[in-house]
């Protein structure tokens, strides 16, 4: 009866190797489909200060808004639909709600409103939805997805009234929200401003934090050897090393040391200094694409770096990870992807997910 205590839940890692220049390369698609990004960490070996062009790309990342106690039916109201949702660059994610416990709402730029509801709310709400893919014996979570740009949801139609009635009278879904309309500077035409006037909200900027790391051992990667047969280390070892750098874990312990035996993977080379910069906040995929483009032309100037790494962490409590694939949280809800760009415009794209997630595309 006592289960084998050695088992643990599944995790997936997909590695893709391609070149930025060749036209079928799908790096744009992958980035744009991962809508809600919480943190970006950029590692530039062999450079002592963050290049100024990269810096100002980060500086005009779009700002995002934290709105307190915003009811969900607001997204259906005409002025919201017209000014913001229909524009196709509006992201909203409910924050301070846990995907494995409470109701979580997310609004994708495609106009799809995804509600991940617990059983009681779903039975009260009255909107058709399907049970979650990751429910154990008893289904306790349902996913309702409403396409706001759908013709049948034009204000005034019966379906529109019904949905509005459900979200307003039956169950007043309200929570704090993180919104962004991908306008970099201050909200120019004040559209979002007057929408949020009745609610307490604050405009936030993604926080940038960069540091230079002295004489670090970096694994030397060869662009052709993705699987780590000999010229470079295996993908998993590289990701582990990247995590160690991000958490400033010392990588030169000897095998006999009592505390930790972690070593930087072979083949490796010492690097005098490298820059590690992290950006946290609600970062829409557009900004990640801009940063990626900037990194590609970073190699245009002469520098010694063989490769550059860009890691993007998704939100743990977000109902969707890539595209509209359902994302759950069992013991950890990690969904992250990482670009390694080489001098010759080759790139490796790692996508890692935890136990309750579809296989990354």
């Amino acid at each position: 009866m006592s289960p084998d205590l050695g088992k643990c839940s599944r995790s997936l890692l997909t590695c893709e190797k391609s070149n930025f220049l060749n036209e079928q390369s799908r790096h744009e698609v992958h980035v744009s489909r991962h809508c809600f990004n919480y943190k970006i960490s950029l590692l530039l070996p062999e450079c002592e200060v963050l290049p100024v062009r990269v810096e100002n790309v980060i500086h005009n990342f779009s700002s995002y808004y934290l709105v307190r106690d915003l009811p969900v039916y607001k997204f259906l109201e005409e002025k919201w639909l017209a000014t913001v949702v229909k524009k196709g660059s509006f992201y909203a994610l409910s924050c301070k709600t846990r995907i494995d416990e409470d109701n979580v709402c997310a609004l994708l730029p495609s106009g799809q409103l995804i509600l991940s509801l617990d059983k009681d709310t779903y039975e009260h709400l009255g909107l058709e939805g399907r049970p979650s893919l990751y429910s154990h014996k008893k289904v306790m979570r349902y996913v309702v997805s409403v396409d706001l740009t759908n013709k049948s949801l034009v204000p005034g139609t019966k379906r529109y009234q019904q949905v509005l009635l459900c979200l307003k009278e039956r169950v007043m879904l309200r929570s704090d929200f993180l919104l962004t309309t991908c306008h970099p500077g201050a909200d120019k035409d004040g559209a979002l401003h007057n929408l949020l006037s009745q609610y307490t909200y604050e405009e936030c900027r993604p926080t940038l934090h960069s540091q230079t790391l002295k004489n670090l051992f970096c694994p030397s990667l060869h662009h052709s050897d993705l699987r780590g047969k000999g010229l470079s280390c295996t993908p998993n070892q590289f990701l582990e090393w990247l995590g160690a750098v991000n958490l400033n874990i010392s990588c030169d312990n000897s095998a006999v040391s009592f505390l930790s035996t972690y070593m930087c993977p072979e083949p490796r080379a010492p690097v005098s200094q490298s820059v590690l910069c992290t950006v946290t906040g609600l970062i829409p995929p557009k900004d990640v694409c801009r940063l990626l483009k900037e990194l590609r032309c970073y190699f245009a100037e002469p520098n010694f770096a063989a490769w550059v790494s860009l890691t993007v962490h998704g939100f743990v409590d977000c109902p969707v990870s890539w595209g509209a694939a359902e994302h759950g949280f069992f013991k950890g809800g990690e969904n992250l992807y990482n670009f390694v760009c080489f001098k010759n415009q080759d790139y490796w794209l790692y996508k890692a997910t935890g136990s309750e997630d579809a296989c990354p595309p």
Binding site: E16, Y38, K331, E334, L336
Partner: protein
């Protein structure tokens, strides 16, 4: 050294990493007792020894980092030893017969995921 653009290649690994990583921190009754990294690891090993005996105490795990002030650490353990280590941490109740408690903040098969946990976003 422009080489011909690499051919497209895609690999999917299932359970790629044979390690699991845990971000934990220790809560003590009187917060001023200072604990060194070795004592910290020894406390965990004695918890393992108490619950799983000699076999348990032999489970290899690394204390990747240890922050003395916040008494927080990141552990690395083999997949097979994760459940045993985690349950031993849970059931450890005292250090130098003063009550203590391990709080596990995050567990993940990817060390990188520990550096970007959106649940720690102060909002």
């Amino acid at each position: 050294m422009e080489e011909k653009s690499a051919s497209y290649e895609r690999v999917v690994y299932k359970n790629p990493s044979e390690y699991h990583y845990m971000k934990i921190h220790l809560v003590l009754e009187n917060a001023d007792t200072s604990i060194s990294a070795e004592e910290f690891k020894y406390l965990i090993i004695s918890g393992l020894k108490d619950l799983y005996g000699e076999v348990g105490a032999a489970i290899p795990f690394d204390v990747l980092t240890f922050d003395q002030t916040a008494l927080s650490a990141i552990l690395r353990v083999f997949n097979s030893g994760l459940v045993k280590l985690w349950s031993a941490l849970t059931l450890t109740g005292s250090y130098a017969n003063k009550p203590c408690a391990f709080r596990v903040t995050q567990v993940s098969p990817f060390l990188l995921a520990l550096s970007g946990n959106s649940r720690e976003m102060e909002v």
